[in-house]
Chain length 76, copies 2
């Protein structure tokens, strides 16, 4: 089983990485870019006997800082 956890900063939280990418893209001449946000993605390869509920626990205990980050989990 593969779980993909996508973690993005919440709206309103300062995102210097996203801003740096935005500035760099504008500097390269790309137009029409309104906003850039950078987040992270963690792919977990899990044995099939892992309860999918455990993934949420992993997020809350280690992977995600829920004060400043939102996350979503996709299982495939």
């Amino acid at each position: 089983m593969r779980a993909t956890v996508t973690i993005m900063l919440k709206d309103g939280v300062l995102d210097p990485q996203g801003e740096a990418v935005h500035t760099a893209l504008l500097g390269l001449g790309f137009a029409g870019i309104e906003k850039v946000t950078q987040g992270k993605v963690i792919e977990l390869n899990l044995s099939d006997d892992v309860d999918p509920k455990r993934i949420d626990e992993m997020c809350k205990k280690l992977l995600v800082n829920e004060i400043i980050e939102d996350y979503k989990v996709e299982i495939s």
Copy 2:
């Protein structure tokens, strides 16, 4: 238009972040984790007149290091 670029290290490229997360999850008592890979995701909010082909150009010119990284683009 929103484009989501997901960037992952290619197979075989050392992924110390993924390994650190793996070790930490095992340390917290989570079992059945075979592999952890960490990558990044860049969300681009673009005005609707941007040619989607330009997104690929942004990846190749700035966002992705194609020697060690693979990427995929989703447009929504």
